[in-house]
Amino acid sequence: MPKTIPIQDLQEGMILNNPVVNKFGQVLLREGTELKTSHNKVLHLWGISFLTIETPNETHLAVIDENIIAKSLELIQCRMKWEPRNVHEADLYELIKKAVSNQIISGEMQ
C-alpha cells in the first residue's frame, strides 16, 4: 500500500511509489527509485516535505489499479488545495485517498 511520509522518516531502501516533482511539474526522482539516506538532504534543498513510498503490506489499496489511483488523486486535487504539514495530515491524506478510490470502484464517483 502506498504511504505518504515526511522526508525526515526516509529510510535507506524505501521505494518511491509516486515520482517526486517540483512546483513546476519537473520530475526530480522517478517512481520506483530506491531511496538512499543521502536523498534526504537533496529533497530538503528542493523544498520537498513529503514522499509517497511503497509499503510491504499488500492491503486493499494495493489491488486498486493505477488508473483508479490516478483518478482519485485528480479528484482530490480539485478539492484539496494544501500539502500535508506533518505525519497526521499525511495520514489524513491517505484516508481520503482510500475513501475516494473505494468510491470510484463502487461506482459512487465517476
Binding site: W82, E89, L92
Partner: protein, 283 residues
C-alpha cells in the same frame, strides 16, 4: 444583505424544544433524581419513548445487548446519554417538516451531521477518552446553524449550499455575504435559546475555526477533524466540497497515534452505514 437583527429575532422565535426535554433538564438538575423520575417523564409520550429505545439500540451508542425499556436504556447508557438521545429526537422532530429543494437535499445535511457524530465518537474512543457521552451529539449538532438557515430561508439557502459545493467555495463566506452572520453564530443563538450545555454551545461556535480554549479542546478538536473527514469521504453533504486544512493546533491537542486515521476507515464506514437509520427513527 438581510437585516441581521431581524434574522436574529427570527432565530429567537424558533419553536421551543418539546416539554419532555425541558422537564428532563429540570429533573436531571436535581442530584437526588432517580431512574423512576426520569422514566416517568419519558414514558408520558409513547411515540417519543419508542423512538428513544430505537435510537438507544443504534450501534453508535455501543450497547452490547438489546434494550426494550427506558429504564434498561438508562441502566446501560446513564442519565446524560439518555438526555442526549431525547435531545437528538427532539431536534430532529423540529426540523422534520423542512422541505428539500432540487438544488440541495435537506436529508444530506442530516447525513453529514450523523457522519460527523459517528467520527467524533470514534476519535474520542481512539484517544482513550473514558467518557465519550457527549461526543456523538456534539458532532451531530455541530451544524445546527445550517439547519436553522435552511428552515428560515428554504430555497434561497439551498441555492447557496449548491453554489458553494459546485464552486469549491467556503459556505461561511456566502452566509456572511447573504445573511450577515455565519451558521456558527446562528447555531449558537438557537443553542442558547434551547438551553444546550456550555460545551455543546462551544462546539457549535468553534467547530470550524478551532481556537485553543483548554477546557473543551479535545472534543472541539475531534469535531473539527471529524467534519473534515466526513466532507472528504463524501458522507452526506454539508454544502462544502473543498477539503479544508485542519487547524494545526488540533494535532498537539489530539496527539493521535501515527496511522490512526487510515486505520479508522473500515470502522467509519461500518458505523456510518449502521447509524444512518437514526434518520428513520427520529423524523
Amino acid at each position: 444583505m438581510k437585516d441581521v437583527d431581524k434574522l436574529i429575532d427570527s432565530i429567537r422565535e424558533f419553536p421551543t424544544l418539546p416539554t419532555i426535554y425541558s422537564s428532563l433538564l429540570d429533573v436531571l438538575s436535581n442530584p437526588f433524581s432517580t431512574v423512576n423520575d426520569v422514566t416517568n417523564i419519558i414514558i408520558r409520550d409513547q411515540s417519543v419513548t419508542s423512538k428513544i429505545i430505537k435510537v438507544a439500540n443504534s450501534p453508535v451508542f455501543g450497547i452490547s445487548s438489546r434494550v426494550d425499556t427506558i429504564s434498561q436504556a438508562i441502566f446501560f447508557l446513564g442519565f446524560n446519554e439518555i438526555k442526549n438521545i431525547v435531545l437528538t429526537v427532539s431536534v430532529m422532530k423540529i426540523f422534520s417538516s423542512t422541505k428539500s429543494f432540487t438544488y440541495f437535499n435537506f436529508i444530506d445535511l442530516w447525513k453529514h451531521s450523523i457522519a460527523v457524530g459517528v467520527i467524533t465518537r470514534l476519535l474520542g474512543t481512539k484517544l482513550g477518552i473514558k467518557n465519550v457521552e457527549n461526543y456523538f451529539i456534539s458532532g451531530l449538532l455541530h451544524d445546527l446553524g445550517k439547519l436553522v438557515f435552511y428552515k428560515i430561508f428554504g430555497e434561497e439557502y439551498a441555492k447557496i449550499l449548491r453554489y458553494s459545493f459546485d464552486n469549491f467555495e467556503e459556505i461561511r463566506d456566502q452566509e456572511k455575504k447573504n445573511f450577515g452572520i455565519t451558521h456558527e453564530i446562528a447555531g449558537e443563538i438557537l443553542a442558547e435559546k434551547w438551553r444546550f450545555s456550555r460545551i455543546m454551545r462551544e462546539v457549535i461556535k468553534h467547530h470550524y475555526v478551532f481556537r485553543k480554549n483548554n477546557e473543551d479542546d479535545v472534543l472541539i478538536a475531534c469535531v473539527h477533524l471529524a467534519n473534515i473527514i466526513a466532507i472528504a469521504m463524501n458522507l452526506g453533504n454539508s454544502g462544502s466540497n473543498a477539503i479544508y486544512q485542519p487547524n494545526y493546533e488540533i494535532w498537539s491537542v489530539l496527539n493521535l497515534p501515527e496511522g490512526a486515521l487510515t486505520a479508522m476507515y473500515d470502522e467509519i464506514m461500518d458505523s456510518y452505514s449502521k447509524s444512518i437509520d437514526i434518520l428513520n427513527y427520529s423524523t
